[in-house]
């Protein structure tokens, strides 16, 4: 383990030296994240410096190979890096769908040219990506997508509409599922293509959510020309790639960590009487949620260890997605209960512009996006319990 101990010491020293003070505090709101991209404006000099230093080390995508802009770390080293960053509360230098989603897909399904072309700019935060999966008529039934890409010799001609494209209005490029063939089952004939959002015929319109925010868009494609070399994997292999990414995303969503113990938030909000929360029923529900939170974290740890030991996670990712998102919804309901009337303010400074209420509303989408809870339960029924007709 000497090699790892050395790595830890080096990493700690490097972080101590290079991570600016102001980058050592948790994100206080959505605006604190650094997403990069052609039109990115840094929130502060420190944000810029921190990104640049991490890019130079390959730390925005630590496990990717160095030729793709990564640091070439193995899993053990990556964990150490994460631990050391957490130790000083270092912010994530770059938030990126390119790193979290497109990257893994390209690494597994892309050609070497594609990897070399797309991955380095992603790691440098130069190109911001968005994901074009869902369509209005499809919803949970992702595979019934209708956006079509016609073969026009050297390019595809893309026509159709996507919805729930996260930050499409701010993204530079899109990775997109399109239908290249109508003849087989709905899962066949789907392909995975990449194109520039500045291409002629692309329009992104933000959708206003119940939280008052607009992180998603409706995105329209009218005769968009996509060069053939922008196809990832084989023609018709899009569904396989999408499923791979969905499993990946499901795990990530399931993993979203609760920043502070619920009981601590509640105690601060309501105050304690004789050392106890004054609402004894809420106290019980909070204890129940914290027990579940603990058991859920233990489960993620266990399944991760099993995965490392070579057992496949498979459909269990659906269980994590289902339970994690429902638990998070419960968590925010309980926080709202604890805050009571104070948590209902929407626009005041006092409430940080209704942050709690907006977060509460935002969580309602957790069990819908990335496959609804109902879809996850269907998957468990079919693939794990093997119930007939599921």
């Amino acid at each position: 383990m000497g090699h790892l101990d050395d790595f830890r010491a080096e990493t700690r020293a490097w972080l101590e030296e290079n991570c600016p003070e102001s980058m050592r505090t948790p994100f206080s709101n959505d605006g604190d994240a650094c997403w990069g991209g052609r039109n990115w404006t840094f929130a502060s000099d420190d944000q810029k410096i921190w990104l640049e230093r991490c890019v130079a080390k390959g730390y925005t995508a630590p496990t990717w190979d160095e030729k793709y802009g990564g640091a070439g770390l193995d899993r053990a080293q990556e964990r150490i890096l994460r631990q050391e960053m957490k130790r000083i509360n270092a912010r994530l230098p770059l938030s990126s769908f390119g790193i979290w989603m497109l990257g893994p897909a390209l690494l597994k399904f892309g050609s070497e040219e594609q990897k070399l072309k797309y991955l380095p700019p992603i790691t440098r935060g130069e190109i911001r990506w968005c994901q074009g999966y869902s369509e209005p008529a499809a919803g949970s039934d992702l595979a019934s997508l209708a956006t079509k890409a016609e073969d026009k010799g050297d390019h595809f001609l893309v026509n159709g509409q996507k919805v729930w494209t996260s930050y499409a209005d701010k993204a530079d490029w899109i990775f997109c599922l399109v239908r290249t063939d109508n003849s087989g089952t709905k899962h066949q004939g789907i392909s995975f293509v990449l194109f520039d959002m500045e291409s002629e015929g692309v329009e992104a319109r933000p959708i206003k959510l119940i939280s008052g925010r607009s992180p998603f868009c409706e995105t329209f494609f009218e005769n968009v020309k996509v060069p053939k070399e922008n196809l990832v994997g084989e023609l018709g292999q899009g569904w396989t790639i999408a499923k791979y990414l969905l499993t990946h995303e499901r795990e990530m969503i399931g993993e979203m960590e609760a920043p502070r113990p619920l009981s601590e938030v509640a105690a601060q909000t309501m105050g304690l009487v004789d050392g106890k929360l004054p609402d004894s029923l809420l106290r019980g529900k909070i204890a129940e949620a914290e027990i579940d939170d603990w058991a859920f974290k233990m489960t993620m740890g266990r399944l991760l260890s099993e995965a490392k030991a070579g057992m496949s996670l498979g459909a269990k990712s659906s269980m994590l997605k289902y339970y994690g998102t429902e638990l998070n919804k419960r968590r925010l309901e309980l926080m709202m209960d604890a805050a009571g009337q104070d948590g209902l303010e929407w626009e005041s400074d006092r409430s940080n512009d209704g942050q709690l209420a907006r977060s509460w509303l935002r969580t309602k989408g957790n069990s819908i996006e990335g496959g609804t809870s109902e879809v996850q339960l269907n998957i468990i029924s079919k693939h794990i319990l093997q119930l007939p007709g599921a």
Binding site: S134, G139, I207, I210, G343, E347, L361, I368
Partner: protein, 379 residues
């Protein structure tokens, strides 16, 4: 208790149904919200509600009201709930009218009740102070001063407080926070020196305010009801408020349920109408069953109010608790069954979810009432 509406009540319900669907549907709330309306409600609508008799629904006839009682008031509240109608109905026609008719002096009644019935005045109850409903916890003080009192302290979640012409303020005239005794009610002009009103825009785009009182002087005749025994008067006011909010929640949650069922019959996924999926059917049918219980609970509470039944406080608390719980379920299930579009501002279901959150908190959430009920029943 039969809990079946009589002919007059059926007529009233139908007229309210038509009125609110026509004059104050959800699109009106959106207009007020998106136009950043200063008051958050429509004064014209309120005037029309007065013309319909709704503003004076609890005001005795000699003061110009129609005096139709709580069942009638509940039927109106239910329709407002169904349409998410913003108006001072709760603050003025229910809470203030109940306080004045039960505890007001003849002079106070003559001064305020006719104006309430005419829709000429808006009154607001300034009771809660922190995040959670806790009448006994009142810390605002009213200290004797000359022939009157000086009021100091802070109130929050004063529904319609930012547009009120008069505030009914619960203040401590003796005892300590936590005591039931020692609280008194005062009618306070918000334009008095030392009163500071801050409008708070809530998640449901409806109206409330925080009000600061800095040594606010009021005359002796500002006292509403008996000195130190304000909890008695408040008891009836809160029963009325709980029954009315429960009735409103019945309308809100039932409508949320209806639009969800409609959506289930319309939306297709995996080549099926989603309403065909049995898992959703069973959840919807469970919610239907809960809604049936909710309707009975609300009717029982309103009936008890009108009959001045000995169980009135218990029934109002139980109705508020039951509606608080089930309405939350209706909101959450509604959004989930709508799927992605349920998260968009464009669809109405999210507005229902938001109003339910606020209303279930008003005058005590389900936990508050369960605790109170258990104590009242000696367990």
């Amino acid at each position: 208790m039969g809990l079946v509406l009589n002919e007059d009540e059926v007529m009233l319900r139908e007229s309210a149904e038509g009125f609110f669907a026509d004059k104050a549907p959800v699109t009106e709330l959106r207009k007020l919200r998106d136009g950043n309306d200063e008051t958050g409600f429509s004064r014209e609508l309120w005037k029309e509600m007065a013309d319909m008799g709704f503003a004076g629904i609890l005001v005795p006839e000699e003061h110009g009201g129609v005096d139709m009682g709580y069942m009638a008031a509940g039927l109106v509240a239910e329709q407002m709930g169904r349409n998410l109608t913003a108006s001072p109905f709760l603050s003025t026609a229910i809470l203030a009218a109940t306080a004045l008719r039960n505890s007001g002096t003849p002079e106070q009644q003559a001064a305020w009740l006719p104006k309430i019935a005419a829709g000429d005045v808006i009154m607001a109850l300034a009771l809660d102070e922190g995040g959670k409903h806790n009448p006994r916890g009142t810390t605002v003080t009213a200290k004797p001063s000359g022939n009157g009192f000086k009021i100091s302290g802070h109130k929050a979640m004063v529904v319609d407080g930012h547009v009120a012409d008069a505030l009914i303020v619960a203040a401590r005239t003796s005892g300590e926070p936590g005591d039931a005794d020692g609280i008194s009610l005062f009618i306070v002009d918000p334009k008095s020196k030392g009163v500071d009103v801050e409008r708070t825009i809530m998640v449901d785009s409806r109206n409330a305010a925080r009000v600061d009182f800095d040594e606010v002087e009021v005359a002796g005749d500002a006292l509403l009801g008996s000195l130190d025994e304000g909890m008695d008067a408040l008891g009836t006011v809160l029963n009325a408020g709980r029954a009315a909010v429960a009735a409103e929640l019945l309308g809100t949650s039932d409508q949320a349920f209806q639009i969800t069922v409609d959506y289930l019959k319309e939306r297709k996924q995996f080549g099926k109408i989603i309403g065909e999926f049995q898992a959703l059917q069973h959840r919807a049918s469970h919610l239907y069953s809960e809604m049936e219980l909710c309707r009975s609970a609300v009717l029982a509470a309103l009936t008890a109010m009108d009959a001045n039944d000995k169980n009135t406080s218990l029934y109002c608390a139980m109705a508020k608790a039951k509606l608080g719980s089930v309405a939350k379920l209706a909101g959450v299930e509604g959004v989930q069954m709508h799927g992605g579009v349920g998260m968009t501002d464009e669809y109405d279901i999210g507005l229902y979810l938001k109003r339910i959150r606020v209303a279930q908190e008003l005058f005590g959430d389900a936990h508050y009432h369960m605790d109170q009920i258990a104590s009242a029943m000696n367990y």
